[in-house]
């Protein structure tokens, strides 16, 4: 039993002092770049991710273009300095490709692609510091960037991880340390308002008995994330609005 060290201490606190159902601190900022159409930066605990969105714009290669929808092109990369051991290459390895695909999957579920025939949206995410829950941070950052770019989406797509501490207590938003020490990690990307699950991934096998409670916890986490993002978006929009003096608005 030594391998699964106590992730939740007797007092009910996790290694970093959180309670099992608490997210890490989330800080985010939209419109961090002027060049892309939309951009965002998010910190979830120490995991830091930048996202940039270009588009929608004309598809450059004619083969890929679709007459009834826009295509979404995603690229995930991790800065070489983002992990403890310096990475050899920032993108192109199997894990990055997989991440890109998963990210694309999450975005496809919300972006109203049929509004933009013959178009393409490029989403680039870059992990600056990896401390667990990379995928969720990327999804959340991409969502913000997409909103910043003014691209219509059905609703927020948020992601969150959850795991099982001490084999019984579901815990939210797993840090890198806990990922290493703990058991299986469940990553869920969901549409928190409608409660739909877009993507679900497990790092190891879960027993079926544990899955519902961990999954529910993860969905709760997604809702919490959404609330935080929503507030950030509102702040950001009203900031721009008041800076521009709400010009070009009729109401």
């Amino acid at each position: 039993m030594s391998r699964n060290r106590e992730l939740i201490s007797k007092i009910g606190l996790r290694l970093d002092g959180r309670r099992p159902d608490e997210l890490r601190r989330i800080r985010c900022k939209m419109g961090v770049f002027s060049q892309p159409d939309g951009s965002a930066y998010i910190e979830q605990g120490l995991t830091k991710v930048l996202a940039a969105v270009y588009g929608p714009h004309q598809v450059r290669s004619r083969q890929k273009a679709q007459h009834d929808a826009c295509i979404i092109n995603t690229q995930f990369s991790m800065a070489v300095f983002s992990t403890n051991e310096r990475k050899k290459r920032p993108r192109g390895d199997r894990k990055s490709t997989e991440m890109s695909m998963h990210l694309q999957q999450a975005l496809l579920s919300v972006i109203e692609t049929d509004l933009y025939p013959w178009s393409q949206i490029d989403v680039y995410v870059e992990v600056l510091h990896a401390d667990g829950g990379i995928y969720p941070a990327c999804v959340n950052a991409a969502t913000l960037a997409v909103i910043d770019a003014g691209i219509p989406i059905k609703e927020y797509v948020c992601a969150c991880t959850a795991s099982l501490g001490n084999n019984e207590v579901p815990m939210l938003d797993v840090s890198h340390q806990e990922e290493i020490l703990g058991g299986p990690t469940l990553t869920v990307a969901a549409l928190p308002m409608s409660g739909k699950i877009v993507l679900m991934e497990m790092s190891q096998r879960f027993h079926l008995d544990h899955l519902p409670k961990v999954l529910n916890k993860a969905l709760e986490g997604c809702k919490d994330v959404k609330a935080i993002l929503d507030e950030a978006v509102k702040n950001h929009v009203s900031e721009i609005g008041s800076a521009t003096g709400w010009a070009n608005t009729t109401s």
Binding site: M1, I11, H129, H207, D209
Partner: protein, 958 residues
Amino acid sequence: MFTTKCFIKKNKIGNFLKHVREHYIRDDISCGIPSCDDCNAEASSHLNEVHLNKCSLFKFEHFIILDTNVILDQMDVLEEPIICNVIILHTVYKEVKHRSLPIYKRLNAVLENPSRHFYIFVNDHHKDTFLPEDKNELINDHNDRCIRKATSWYMGHVPKRHFVLITDDAKNRQLALADNIPTCTITDYVKHLENNSILQDKLSRKDFHSEKEAKDIFPPHLSTAALLKGIKEGVLHQGTFRASKDNFLEGFVSVDGFTEPVLLQGRDGLNRSVDGDIVAVEVFKMENWVSPSEIVLEDEGVSEESIEDVEQKEQALKNTTVQEAEIKPTGRVVGIIRRKWKQYCGIIQGNSEGLYQIFVPANRSIPKVRIETRQAEFLKTQKLIVTIDSWPRSSRYPHGHFVRALGRIGSQDTENEVVLLEHDVPHSQFSEEVLSCLPKLPWIITEEDEKRRVDLRSIDICSVDPPGCTDIDDALHCRLIEEGKLEVGVHIADVSHFIRPGTAIDLEAASRATTVYLVGTRIDMVPGLLSSNLCSLRGGEDRFAFSCIWEMDLQANILSTRFHKSIIKSKSAMTYEEAQLTIDDQTKTDAIAESLRNLNKLAKILKKRRLENGALVLASTEVKILMDSETMEPLDVELKKMYQTNSMVEEFMLLANISVAQKILQEFPDCAMLRRHPTPPASNFDPLVKAGRHLGFDIQVDCGRNLADSLDRAVKPENPYLNTMLRMLATRCMLQAVYFPSGTLQKEDFYHYGLAVPLYTHFTSPIRRYADIIVHRLLAVICGSDSTYPDLLDKQKSSELCQNLNYRNRMAQYAGRASVAFNTHLFFKGKLNDEEGYILYVRKNALQILIPKYGLECTLYLVKKNETTLFEYDEEHQTQRAGDVVFHTFDPVTIRLQLDSSNIQHEKFSVLLVQPAIPGFSVPALSKDDEQVNDAEPVKKGKKRKNIAAKSPKKSKS
């Protein structure tokens, strides 16, 4: 909910990585004191304001806050219920966990006990008590600072209560006083407590040597840094120290880079290492290497100061250990990397007066320990537990302190307790929580149950067990279903019906893993209500069973197999003897008798087939001790009798186990609980092959089949016991069979060598083995009568469980043997017997003799101290010759046995040769000359050392 302040922590692993971790500071952490209004009192706080500590050092009642060093060193004191209302700071708690896991576990046990009123205060996440680390500060200083900060916070937070900081760190104390924090050392604190006498004994002594300046007996240890450097550079080697059981001045360390363990000799060589410690050794140059001495040396020191006798013995050791041929890498311990000190059982040596006593551990690989006690007179009559605290250079013995007394020396209960403790057998009473999981009585079978199970109550089922068996977990039946077709059923108690996964009773059973059988007592794995009643398939009562039912033809070929849960009613619970009589008595023709006869026939075919496949028949000397039911003294020791029915039951159990193993592996390729018996490496068989060669037999060991055949061939008509002896030797060459989850190994490794089957598991004894319960659960899932649960299918979890099961099983086996050995000793107490025996091994200075009647092994020394020997040792042929008498391996001898009780700690057998007579060595047979006995007494003491090896040959398979 939480303030978001994060701080940076650097960690260095290998190539200097910087780790950054978050650290949340919270404002919702309670101080745990019930009367505090500011904090919403947590339910988990056990602190109590009524039962406060009183110590004459302080004029007020107070809560105690402890420093880490106090917990680490003085856990025995803290376990005493006198001290309560203690606040454990999280800083301290973490450090304890980091430094010592055993102490951490004990601390947790105390914390969980509500009557002790301990509370963990999470000071490092509390907004007011969190202190960031200073750059130039040592971690220790930082922790001390945190402790003081938390204490003073408490003083400010709850002004009407008082708090005392107990620390053994002088600097911390000084700084605390500067902050007006009341503080003292644990020693002072305990001394000023009321009713402190027991506590004082339990104080750990770290600061002994300051009492007086003694000359250093041991060379110093190198500093940790120097050790690590040395190991890194390859000058020093790291390994676990194993003390020799026979020679207190000798030990071994297995290190990487040397194929053989490094030999350590003498006081300087061992340099205060205790069995189990991880030490750093320096290996000498090749020319200084020596061979391990084959002599037996015992520490006879009586006091701490004198070391003359040790020096003398070291000299003796040096003289004996020059033998060119067998030199081993030799070295000396230069430092201890990690102490593995535990608690040890033993007694007080008892020949000194006063505060200090020498403690003699029962385990001979552990050195004697000096302890301080105020109850020496009482303790001298007791078996007690002691733990080692320190071993300063100036002290011949390590210093320790008394933990607790077990009971009177020599009493059955105490000895059992010692055996259980030494083998780490959990043997406390079942807790209330566990007992609450038991079904309510009267237990009835509901209709629901009947619906779910196959009703087999009409079938004539019977059980066959040893006499006096109350935990009957298997029953059998056999009936003719059509011409030439038999239905055979094995019915196993359905323990998994009562023990549901995850309940307290399940956890307890998993931790106990097995029922431990000692002479005269039994340590149950599950509470008695289950083991002897509800799960026991008693005759004439309705019981739940898990049935494995085959259809077989008359040649014992399995036509079909099925498993299901059932309700059975055993018609008769028989002993092996009764069953045998029923079979033999041709007049009996009832269903049971017929059924038994059929079973017996089938079993013979099965056994024959199994042996043809290469299954080994191994011999062991399992003995049974007949106890006087009133005095609990052994009346007689006898070998267990074997009937055909024993083998009959065994065959069907094996068959059931094999069938179940196949089934569960098929359904759960990743997590089936199986049992394997690894093929021993060829080198293990060396002694067997050698012994065979001397006797003129060619023992082939390349595969199980050949081994079985060659053992069958090795028969000498003039020595009927020889074959048995060979088989016993073969048994000792085997490895231990182990449980494992199927996902962890390759399929080839599943093989069971002893039984020569590719798959095996344990299914048939769920009452006394936890592995069987797991197998039952797996099988129940397959039958659809139960559902899975997470841990059952978790490879990792199963693997951990298996490790525990294997460990407990091994320990249970050892404990059982130790108990038999003790009782055999008890039986011989005051007796003087001539016994028939056989030579097991011929050694350079001794003969190892087995007395089959008692399953006892003892050593007959051929060389007396300071005397020239009469014997010539022929190493090549493994013989000893004196005149015209030649001792070969397996030769019969007659010896005289007597128990030497001069040392109550280590009672030993004194062995004298009777037959064949060798003038000047052997003694005449007992009946002729009784006076010899009286003479023998003074001679024995100190001169001849007779040992009994407690090991009785074991049956390592199944």
